[in-house]
């Protein structure tokens, strides 16, 4: 079956069963995400790739491993921006967005670690090695786990939102230091660091770029989509909670 065929089926799976029509003007990017990811998966596994020693067919992991980090960075950046917005405006809605963006970003980061670990197993011969870039990525996850523990240990909503926003700013800055600056200063096995060539050097015929750039966009959009769904769910839960408590107030009064 051809690519458009898949997309049409996917479209009806998601939007076809509901009575309401999808608002294309508002939700075109979701459709774009679906189309790009189908393109990525199909061409990523079947398309031509340059034959390289050691890398062999694992080079296709480029379409999955690298975009995960792009997705994580985007989502964590959204989280920080909404944290700052919350500090400025003191609106709980922004805190919910910051929280859900961080959740989704960390999930993508974990996927990035797993795909990277798999790739390391088949190219470097080990699941994990003590490398600046790898450790930096793992510690970034630790920092964000600490962020969730911080959120969990404050009961007052306003206070929790403020503390979390402050911590997430620190966390984001340290993440930049850890995965962008430190690996470039020291020896690293990871491509693009420590004097190693990045993938742009391997791909002389630019075959991979045709899949890689759409893959990055597709995965980032999927991450934003998941975040969007989570935020809507969290806002609904919040509304329900508020209704329930106000209903209880009325019951208490009478």
């Amino acid at each position: 079956m051809s690519l458009p065929g898949f997309s049409v089926i996917y479209y009806f799976l998601i939007f076809g069963r509901t009575k309401t029509r999808m608002n294309i003007q508002k939700n075109w990017w979701k459709l774009l995400a679906a189309v790009l990811l189908f393109y990525t998966v199909i061409l990523g596994f079947l398309g031509p790739v340059p034959a390289r020693e050691i890398l062999n067919e694992t080079i296709r992991n480029l379409y999955f491993h690298v975009p995960m980090w792009f997705g994580m960075m985007t989502l964590l950046a959204i989280s920080v921006v909404y944290g700052i917005k919350h500090l400025n405006k003191n609106e709980m809605r922004y805190d919910i967005i910051a929280r859900e963006a961080a959740h989704t970003g960390v999930a993508m980061g974990i996927l990035g670690l797993i795909t990277g670990s798999l790739w390391a197993r088949y190219t470097w011969g080990t699941w994990w090695t003590s490398d600046t870039k790898l450790n930096g990525a793992a510690i970034t996850m630790l920092i964000y786990f600490a962020y969730f523990i911080l959120r969990g240990s404050v009961e007052d909503e306003q206070k929790r939102a403020r503390l979390a926003a402050v911590y997430s700013l620190f966390a984001f800055v340290m993440m930049i230091v850890f995965i962008m600056i430190l690996p470039r200063m020291e020896d690293s096995l990871h491509p693009g660091n420590g004097g190693n060539p990045g993938f742009s050097k391997y791909d002389l015929s630019s075959q991979m770029r045709l899949v890689f750039y759409p893959a990055v966009l597709g995965w980032v959009l999927l991450g934003v989509w998941i975040m969007n769904v989570r935020i809507r769910l969290a806002l609904l839960e919040e509304q329900m909670h508020n209704k329930e408590s106000s209903w209880n107030d009325i019951l208490d009064k009478h």
Partner: protein
């Protein structure tokens, strides 16, 4: 502002001189930790391990020393303090005070460490001093703010370690690298880029602490 910071610093020193047991406690913590290491390791011939252990001991001692900077005071005293001084002055004074405290700790710690675990002659002393100075500033900026965050939560002591250790790691790794270079007697120019990283982290965390602290103390 500067006047306020001066007065707050004076208050910190006055408090410390009146309650000597807290600073003595930290020094004792340092001595006992080093003694435990001495008993476990006996001797540490490799400079790399010697160097790393020294900074790890200092890391734990400093987390303990700084964590009390916002937890020890009572809530009522805090409210009184905040009605007198601006939050910016409070955080600047605390960071300066903690930097001095950390410098003192690293000095005392280094002395005891050399005596107990055997000296490893440091060949580039100016570099080591610069490293300790910059490191103390960075540790103090991060730990003071994390202590302010942790003091607002329910399980502040666990959270202090959980929040600050991963944030301190880039700083710690760079500091260890510089002090290894100092021990090996490498030329200072080799370590310039690492000193620059530490300086950059210090500036960033200092500015973040200064800007964000006002959001931390108002309840």
């Amino acid at each position: 502002m500067i006047n306020e910071v001066q007065r707050l610093l004076y208050k910190e020193f006055l408090l410390e001189s009146r309650q000597k047991q807290s600073i003595n406690g930290i020094v004792l913590y340092l001595v006992s930790t080093i003694f435990v290491c001495k008993m476990c390791f006996r001797s540490l011939p490799q400079p790399a391990a010697w160097n790393a252990l020294f900074w790890i001991i200092l890391l734990f001692a400093s987390v303990n020393a700084v964590s009390k900077s916002f937890m020890q005071d009572s809530k009522a005293r805090f409210i009184y303090l905040y009605s007198l001084a601006s939050p910016e002055a409070v955080i600047v004074a605390k960071i300066i005070y903690n930097t001095l405290l950390m410098l003192l700790l690293s000095l005392i710690g280094f002395g005891i460490y050399v005596v107990l675990l055997g000296g490893n002659p440091i060949q580039n002393i100016p570099l080591f001093v610069a490293d300790a100075l910059l490191g103390s500033m960075g540790f103090s900026a991060i730990l003071t703010t994390m202590s302010a965050i942790a003091s607002r939560t329910n399980n502040s002591f666990t959270l202090m370690a959980v929040l600050s250790f991963p944030l301190l790691l880039p700083l710690l790794m760079t500091i260890i690298k510089i002090s290894k270079n100092a021990i090996d007697g490498l030329d200072t120019s080799i370590s310039y880029k690492y000193l620059l990283i530490v300086l950059a982290i210090n500036v960033i965390t200092g500015v973040l602490s200064y800007l964000l602290f006002p959001y931390l103390w108002k309840d």
